[in-house]
């Protein structure tokens, strides 16, 4: 009886190995969807990076124009940097998801491969060839799955040197990259100045807040009741114990958007991002120039 059961099992194995496992198919579909999402986000990031760089380059131009042009330019650049940062987070999350699904799929494929190899060893010659071919396909799939999820190079939109480009075209491309880097460095200089201004603003606000808090604490600034109903949101009725509101739509306790401390931190982060991108463009420009020297 036990022998009979074993024979049925052995006969069944090649059939199970040949039929695609439903869970494996489902994992393959999930993995493909996760990788499509990674690709879509990477492409979106590339488009956003091009737009962001245009906004960054606009900062220096806005400073040259003077007047009220700088503030909207900074706001646009900040929005662009925020969008890029949000896309970076989404992309990192999508890559993590894709890798998790890929690992699960690799484990499933590995198990399927082991079963197929075992079945092939026991199978009769006509079936063995089919099973061996299937094992080879599974092995190839496993090798691909063991590689990490890769992203297209999207950090800075690449300027590609084509084999048909002559020295003049290559030199132009190198100059173009250098100019873009210089524009970003110039924008970073503007941001450094603005950051310093925000830090001074924060210092002055700190000193004012501390002075008001101390005088209020010791009750040294009692004034008549025009101030009684106008003490601000949190304080005892005093004339000017609310720090200067920072913008008409801002100023609440939970709203730090107009806080000069937060503003200078944001400008510092944006400046670091610009300098990083400028360095990347300079690196690319250096590579193009090296290529130019080699072709000459």
């Amino acid at each position: 009886m036990r022998w009979a059961a074993a024979a049925v099992f052995v006969a069944a194995v090649p059939l199970r190995a040949q039929a695609p496992s439903p869970s494996l198919d489902s994992l393959r579909a999930r993995s493909a969807a996760a990788e499509r999402r990674v690709t879509a986000l990477a492409e979106q990031r590339e488009r956003t990076a091009v737009w962001a760089e245009a906004q960054y380059r606009g900062i220096a131009e806005a400073r040259r124009r003077g007047g009220a042009a700088l503030r909207p330019a900074l706001r646009e650049a900040q929005t662009a940097a925020d969008s890029l940062a949000a896309l970076d987070r989404s992309l990192a999350e999508a890559v993590r998801d894709a890798e998790a699904v890929r690992r699960a799929l690799a484990a499933g494929v590995q198990a399927e491969l082991e079963r197929t190899v075992a079945a092939a060893e026991r199978a009769r010659p006509p079936d063995r060839a089919t099973l061996t071919a299937r094992a080879r396909a599974l092995s190839d799939e496993l090798q691909r799955l063991r590689r990490p999820v890769t992203l297209p190079a999207t950090d800075v939109p690449a300027v590609v040197v084509r084999p048909t480009d002559g020295p003049a075209e290559i030199a132009l491309k190198a100059d173009f990259l250098t100019d873009r880097a210089a524009q970003l460095r110039s924008a970073a200089e503007v941001l450094a100045g603005e950051g310093g201004r925000e830090r001074r603003r924060a210092e002055l606000q700190d000193e004012v807040e501390r002075l008001v808090a101390q005088t209020r604490l010791f009750g040294e600034t009692d004034v008549p009741p025009p101030a009684v109903p106008f003490g601000g949101q949190g304080g005892e009725p005093r004339p000017v114990d609310t720090p200067v509101p920072l913008a008409p739509s801002r100023g609440g306790p939970a709203d730090r958007a107009g806080d000069p401390r937060a503003a200078s931190d944001r400008l510092d982060r944006l400046r670091a991002e610009l300098l990083r991108r400028a360095a990347e463009l300079e690196r690319q420009s250096g590579e193009v120039r090296r290529l130019l020297r080699e072709r000459r």
Binding site: A213, V240, A254
Partner: protein, 348 residues
């Protein structure tokens, strides 16, 4: 609330001591100031000089409560000791405020609770004047919503209990209610704000002289973020009391200014007030000290990262405990202030 403040101060102290940053989603700021002080009081041609020192420390701890809300706890304590010509005065003050605030796409609202206490040593000889022992408990709420155009409407309501320590002052024990409405709009590089307010003070401390005051005020303000940092305010107020002695009209102008001067900075905080009682007779009546003009000028210079030297001069002219009896105070002080986390020094 005081216990909660002490607990949070202890926790913050441990964090500071360990030099560790606060937890994610939280922010913590602390400051400490200590230094000598000279004060000269003057009233009815009697002058008295004192010399001593004062210290104060504060914490501001904020934590996020969900994606758009925050809770802030801000305890602050201060101590002052004055002496001279047989005078020995100590003053201990404390203030703790807890605020819950939230912002949505169009609306911002907040709720806050505050407890303030002060304790002054028993004998404060004239003409020295310091506010007496007092406890105050306040609850406030507000909402800000954008209205037509670029205008922002801020409305607040609040209620408070004020209780005095000395028996003679307890006739000023009171409950207060107040409400305000302000409209703000950008004006040039700054912000203009106009507002109206109304309040009521019900004095509960004297069973033989029930007193109920209604108060109204209007104010206009202009503020500039700068640098320089400027805030100007003018206002007028009316007080109508069930006891005619306390009816008055008042006008006030105030300024708050801060500007950098090389690596240093200058601050000016001043209010000039004029108050007139409708009953012009020389009535002896106990009043809360609420009429004051003052000018405080301060120079601030960094001496190390997060550490600054403050030199301060002040002039105060204010109503003392007796109606229309004014005292004047001149003061000078130097103090060393420490802030955590420290910020970079001012750069010209």
């Amino acid at each position: 609330m005081i216990r909660a403040a002490l607990r949070s101060a202890a926790a913050a102290g441990l964090l500071l001591h360990a030099g560790r940053p606060p937890l994610a989603g939280q922010s913590l700021r602390a400051d400490l100031s200590i230094g000598p002080e000279w004060l000269r009081f003057e009233s009815r041609d009697v002058r008295h000089s004192t010399f001593g020192g004062r210290a104060s420390a504060g914490l501001a701890w904020t934590t996020s409560a969900g994606s758009a809300a925050a809770i802030a706890l801000e305890p602050r304590v201060g101590f002052r000791a004055l002496g001279g010509a047989g005078t020995r005065i100590t003053e201990l003050v404390g203030d703790v405020r807890a605020t819950l605030s939230a912002t949505s796409a169009r609306t911002r609202w907040w709720l806050s609770a505050e407890q303030r206490v002060r304790a002054v040593s028993d004998s404060v000889p004239a003409p020295v004047y310091l506010d007496p022992d007092r406890r105050e408990t306040w609850g406030r709420g507000g909402i800000a919503v954008p209205v037509a155009g670029q205008w922002l409407l801020e409305s607040t309501v609040g209620a408070g209990l004020v209780r005095y320590g000395p028996a003679t002052w307890q006739q000023l024990d009171r409950t207060e209610l107040l409400g305000t409405a302000r409209l703000s709009h950008a004006l040039g590089p700054g912000l203009v704000r106009v507002g109206v307010g109304a309040g009521n003070a019900n004095f509960t401390g004297d069973p033989f002289a029930a007193r109920d005051d209604g108060r109204w005020g209007v104010t206009a303000e202009w503020a500039l973020r700068g640098p320089p940092f400027v805030q100007l305010e003018v206002g007028a107020a009316w007080n109508s009391s069930s006891i005619e002695t306390f009816d008055y009209r008042a006008l006030r102008a105030a300024v708050l200014f801060s500007t950098s001067l090389g690596r240093s900075s200058l601050q000016l905080y001043s209010a000039l007030a004029a108050k007139s009682y409708r009953d012009t007779g020389d009535t002896l009546a106990l009043v809360d000290q609420e009429t004051g003009s003052f000018v405080i000028a301060q120079a601030t210079s960094p001496i190390a990262r997060g550490t600054t030297l403050h030199l301060r001069a002040e002039w105060v002219r204010s109503e003392s405990s007796i109606r229309s009896r004014l005292f004047q105070r001149l003061g000078a002080s130097a103090s060393v202030g420490y802030r955590w986390p420290g910020r970079r020094n001012l750069t010209p």
